[in-house]
Point group: C2
Chain length 295, copies 2
Amino acid sequence: MSADSPDNLRHVTVVGVGLLGGSAGLALKAHDPTIRVAGVGRRMESLRKGLEMGAIDTAHLDLTEPAATTDLVILATPVGAFERHMRAAAALRVGAIVTDVGSTKAGVVRIAGRILGHGRFVGSHPMAGSEQRGPAFARADLFAGATCILTPTRQTPPEVTARVERLWRWMGMRTVRMAPGAHDRAVARISHLPHALASLLMRLPGRRDLDVAASGFRDATRLASGDTEMWRDIFLTNRRHILAAFDDFEEELLALRDLVDLGDGPGLQRFFAAAKKRRDSTVARAIVDRRVAVE
Amino acid sequence: MSADSPDNLRHVTVVGVGLLGGSAGLALKAHDPTIRVAGVGRRMESLRKGLEMGAIDTAHLDLTEPAATTDLVILATPVGAFERHMRAAAALRVGAIVTDVGSTKAGVVRIAGRILGHGRFVGSHPMAGSEQRGPAFARADLFAGATCILTPTRQTPPEVTARVERLWRWMGMRTVRMAPGAHDRAVARISHLPHALASLLMRLPGRRDLDVAASGFRDATRLASGDTEMWRDIFLTNRRHILAAFDDFEEELLALRDLVDLGDGPGLQRFFAAAKKRRDSTVARAIVDRRVAVE
C-alpha cells in the first residue's frame, strides 16, 4: 500500500485525536512513514494514546503551535468546535490547506469561508467510523474501501479540491463530490434519521423486554451507542434537513399505521416487499466489503 | 454437544422447511442422529433442499401423513398458515405435542386451544434467525446461545411446557416464560417496531443518497431484507400491540423533534446520552455472543 505521498505532503496536523483523527494519522503514516503528524487536542489522555499508537508524532493543546509548519490541517473534533480551531488556523503558512471530517457541511463551509477564506478550505465527509469513540479504536484501514464526500463550492479553487481528493484516494477511499446543501439533505436521510430512530428505539422497551431482545434489535440500535457530543453537534448544525426528514418519515409512518390499523394484508406485503427490494438491490449488495467495525 | 434426546424423542415433524424449520431439523439431528425428522412443506424445492442438507429425512406435502407416528410437531411456516396445519394435526397420536416458532403468540395460542385443545400445545418463540430466508441458510447452531420465549397459559399442562422447554435447552437455548399477551407487547417493541422503522428508512433516500450510504445505514436497515410474507403475518396478528408501539414511538419522536426545532443542545445531548447508556448497559453487552448471521 505504501506510495509517495500526494502533492509532496510532509507535515499534517490532525485536530481531535479520536477515532477518525487517530485513524487518519495511522493511515498517513502507514502509507508514508516519513510524514510527520502533529496532534492537537484538549485531552492529554487522547494525545498520549495517539503518541503511543504512533498515530501522531507530536502533541499540542493548541493548533497555533504546529500551524506555522504544517501543509494540511484535518479538523476531526465534533463540528461545534470547528470555528474555534479555524480561528487558530489563521496562522497557517501560505499554500497550506484545511479540510475536516465533519458530518454536516453547509454551516461548516460557510464558517470556513468567513474565517479561512474560500482559497484554503474544502469540506470532506469520510463515510467511515463506528459507534466507538477515542483513539484506542483508531485503525490505519478505517477509511479503506469507504466513500468520502467532498463538498467544494463555486468559490473553492479546483486545485484545493483536487489535493484533498488525492489525499483520501491515497488512503483507499472512493470520492464523490456534492454541494454542501445536497450533502446535508442526503445525510439527514441516510445517517441522522437512522441515528435518531436507533436512539428512540432504546426508549420504548422495559428492562425485561430488553432481556429477551436478539441480534436484530442489537443491530437496529447500534448507532445509539455513538458519541453523544458528536451527535449533539450534528443535530444542532443540520436542523433544517433533519426536521424535513422527520416530517417525511412521519408521513410514511402514518401510512404504514393505516395499513396495520386496517389489517390490509396485501398492502402490508407490498410495503415490506418494496423496502426489501430497494435494500437488496442497493446497500445490502454494495456495502458488504466496506464494513469497518462491528461489536 | 451430542446427548440423549430429551423425553426419548424419536420422531419430529417440522412444518415449513425454511430457515428456522431447517435449522431445527439440523440441530435435532446434530444432537442425536437417530432422531427421524419429517418435513412438511408446499414447495418441493425447499423440501428437496432440506433432504439434501440432511435437515429432514422424509418430505411430505401434508401434515396428515407423518402425524400418526410423530412425537412432536414444530410449526415453522408464516403464522398465517398455522390454523390450517393445526387442523391437519388433529390426527396426532396420543401423547404427541405441538409447538411453533412463530413471532406472535396471543392469537396462535387462542387458535391452538380451539383446534388442538390446551393439553397438547405450548407456544415457543426462539429469538434467533436473520433476514435470510429458506433452508439454504439453515444451520445446526442457529439457536445455540439465543433466547427462546415460551408462552404457556394457565390451561397448559406443566409437563407439556417442561417437555418443550427441555427441547430448546437441549438445542442450546436459554428459555424464558411469558404470558402470550406480555410476549406480544414486548416483541412489538423489540422486534416489530424495529422492523417497521428499518423498512420505513428505505423509503426516504434517493438512489444517489443510497450510493453514499455507509455501514451504519446498512445495519440500521438490515431487518428490512426479511421475508415479506412472514412479516405481513406478524403485522396482521399483532396489530393492537404494534399500533400501541407506533403511538408511543410517535410521542417520543415529537419530543425529539422539539429539541431539534428549538436547537436545544443540552437537551439533545441528554437524549443521546440516555439512549447510549441504556443500550451500552443492556443489548450491547448481552447479545455479543448470540449473533447468528451477518451479511
